[in-house]
Amino acid sequence: MSDPVAQLVFLIVKAVAMPLIIITMVAFAIYFERKFAGFFQARVGPTYLGPWGSLQSFGDVLKLISKEDVIPLRSDKSVFKLAPYIAFVPAFLVMAVLPFGPVGGEPNLFGHRFDYVIANFDAGVVLFLAMGAIAVYGVVLAGWSSNSNYSLLGGLRAGAQMISYELAMGFSAAGVMVMAGSMSLVEIVDGQKGAFWEWYWIPQIVGAIIFFIASIAELNRTPFDMAEAEQELVAGYLTEYSGMRWGMFYLAEYVNMIVVSGIISTLYFGGWRAPFESWNVIPGPIWLFLKICVLIFIYMWIRWTIFRYRYNQLMSVGWKVLLPLSLANLAVTAVVVSVVG
C-alpha cells in the first residue's frame, strides 16, 4: 500500500471510529449521571436493565425511537425538524481537531505513519469556538420554531447566555494560545512536554477556571441551565419536542460535554500526555480518556450540588467578573511571555 492510500484509509477509519466511540461514551455518561444523581440524593438510580442498571441508556434510546413524533400544528415545521441536527452535528466536528495521541514522527503502524488526530491545521482552537457559535442556532431555532412562549423564552435565554460566555471562553483560551505560540491543538499539546507540573494549568490557572465556568454555561448545565429552568419555563426550548427529536438534543448535550472536557484536557492538562514522563508507556488515548472522565465527573458533581443561578446574576457574572478577569489574564500572559521569552 502506498503512503497516500494508507493515509486515506487511516483517515476513514478514524472518522468512522471517533463518532462511534463518542456515542458509546455518551450512553455510559448518561447512565453515570443518573447513578451519581441517585447517590448524591441518597437514592440508588437505575438498577433494572443489565448489571447495576448499566444498560439503562440503551433501553431509553429504544423507548425514544418508538415514541410518537409530535410536531406542533402551528410550528414552523421545516425549522422545527432542522434544529435538532444543528444542535447535534457541530459537537462532532470539533472532534476532528482534537489530538488523542502523538502526531507526526516515524512510521508506527504497518510501516506507515498513523497520526492520532483527524485534521491537523493551525486554527483548531478557533474551530472549537466557531462550532460553539453554530451550536447556539440549534437551541435558538428550536425555541423559535416551536411557536410557544416558554420555548421562545428558553431559546432566547440560551442564545444570550451562550454568546456572552463565548467571549470569556475565547479570551481565556487565548492565554494558552499565547503561551504555546500557536492555535493548533497539536502544537498546544507539544508545548506541554513533561510531567503534570509543567502543563499549562499552573501558569494559566485563572484562565483554566474561567474556561471551565464558561463551559458550564455553554453546555447549559446546572447551575447555569436557565434555558431549561423547569420551575419557570416548563422545559425551555425543549418544551414542544418529544421522542427522538428530544433525544437528539439530549445526546448533543452529552456529546458537547465530552468534547469540551477533551478541549479542556488538551488546553490545560497536557492532552494525551501522562502525568509523569515514565508513565508514557501507557498509550495517549487512554490518558486523554481518563482526563475526560475526571472532568465529566466534576461537571456532574457540580450539577447535583449547586443551585441554579438567577438570570441576571448569570449575566452579571459573565460580563462583570469573568470577561474582565479573562482579559486581565490574557494581558498578563502576553506581557510575561514577551518579557521572559
Binding site: 486554527a123 469556538l129 449575566m315
Partner: protein
C-alpha cells in the same frame, strides 16, 4: 481535480443560498439561508488552505447573524411583516441602481485579477515556510493592512456607541421600568441599573 469539483459544489451552494436568502418572504428562513451561504464560503476558504480565515468567517458571521436573528424576533412582528405588501416602492429604483453599481465594481475588480496575481506570492509552500497561515495572515493584517484595520475598528466603535445611546434613550423615556425584557440579552448598563 478533487479541489475543483469541491469548489464548484460549494460555490453553487453559496450562490443558491444567497439567492434563497433574498427571495424568502419569511425573514427567519432568509437569515438561515444567509448563514448557509457563509458556511459555504468558509468551506471555499478551507479548500484554499486559509484555515484561520475559514474558521473566523464562521465565528464572526454566525455570531453576527445570531444577533440579527434575535433582533428580528424581538423587534419585528413576523406575521404582519410577511403580510405587508411592499411599502417602500420608491426604494426599488435606488436598490436597482446600487446593485448594478456594485456588480459593475465587482466586474472591474475581478477582470484585472489573474490567478497568479491573486496569490501575490502567497503560495502554500511560501506560507508553510513563513510559519503557517495564521502567522502570515496576522503579519499582513498588522503591517500592510494596518490602516484599513484601524478604520474598521473605529467604525465598529462608532456602532457600539450608537447602540449604547439608543438603549440609554429608551431608558429615560420609560422611567423606572427596566430597559430589557426577560430572556433578552441585557446590556451591561441595564444590568447595572437592575442590580
Amino acid at each position: 481535480m478533487t479541489e475543483k469539483v469541491l469548489f464548484v459544489i460549494f460555490a453553487v451552494l453559496a450562490v443558491a443560498g444567497g439567492i434563497a436568502a433574498v427571495t424568502r418572504r419569511n425573514v427567519v428562513h432568509g437569515l438561515l439561508f444567509l448563514v448557509f451561504t457563509f458556511l459555504n464560503v468558509a468551506a471555499i476558504f478551507f479548500l484554499t488552505q486559509a484555515y484561520f480565515l475559514a474558521v473566523v468567517q464562521i465565528v464572526v458571521y454566525a455570531g453576527a447573524i445570531m444577533v440579527l436573528f434575535v433582533f428580528v424576533i424581538m423587534l419585528l412582528n413576523l406575521r404582519t411583516f410577511e403580510q405587508e405588501e411592499q411599502t417602500h416602492r420608491r426604494q426599488r429604483w435606488l436598490a436597482l441602481a446600487l446593485s448594478v453599481l456594485v456588480l459593475a465594481e465587482f466586474v472591474i475588480v475581478l477582470a484585472g485579477v489573474t490567478f497568479t496575481s491573486a496569490r501575490g506570492g502567497f503560495t502554500p509552500e511560501a506560507i508553510a515556510e513563513a510559519g503557517g497561515g495564521t502567522k502570515v495572515f496576522g503579519e499582513a493584517l498588522f503591517n500592510n493592512m494596518l490602516l484599513p484595520f484601524e478604520v474598521a475598528s473605529v467604525v465598529l466603535l462608532a456602532a457600539m456607541v450608537g447602540a449604547i445611546i439608543l438603549v440609554k434613550r429608551e431608558k429615560t423615556a420609560g422611567g423606572a421600568t427596566r430597559s430589557w425584557e426577560p430572556g433578552e440579552e441585557p446590556t451591561p448598563e441595564a444590568v447595572e441599573e437592575e442590580v
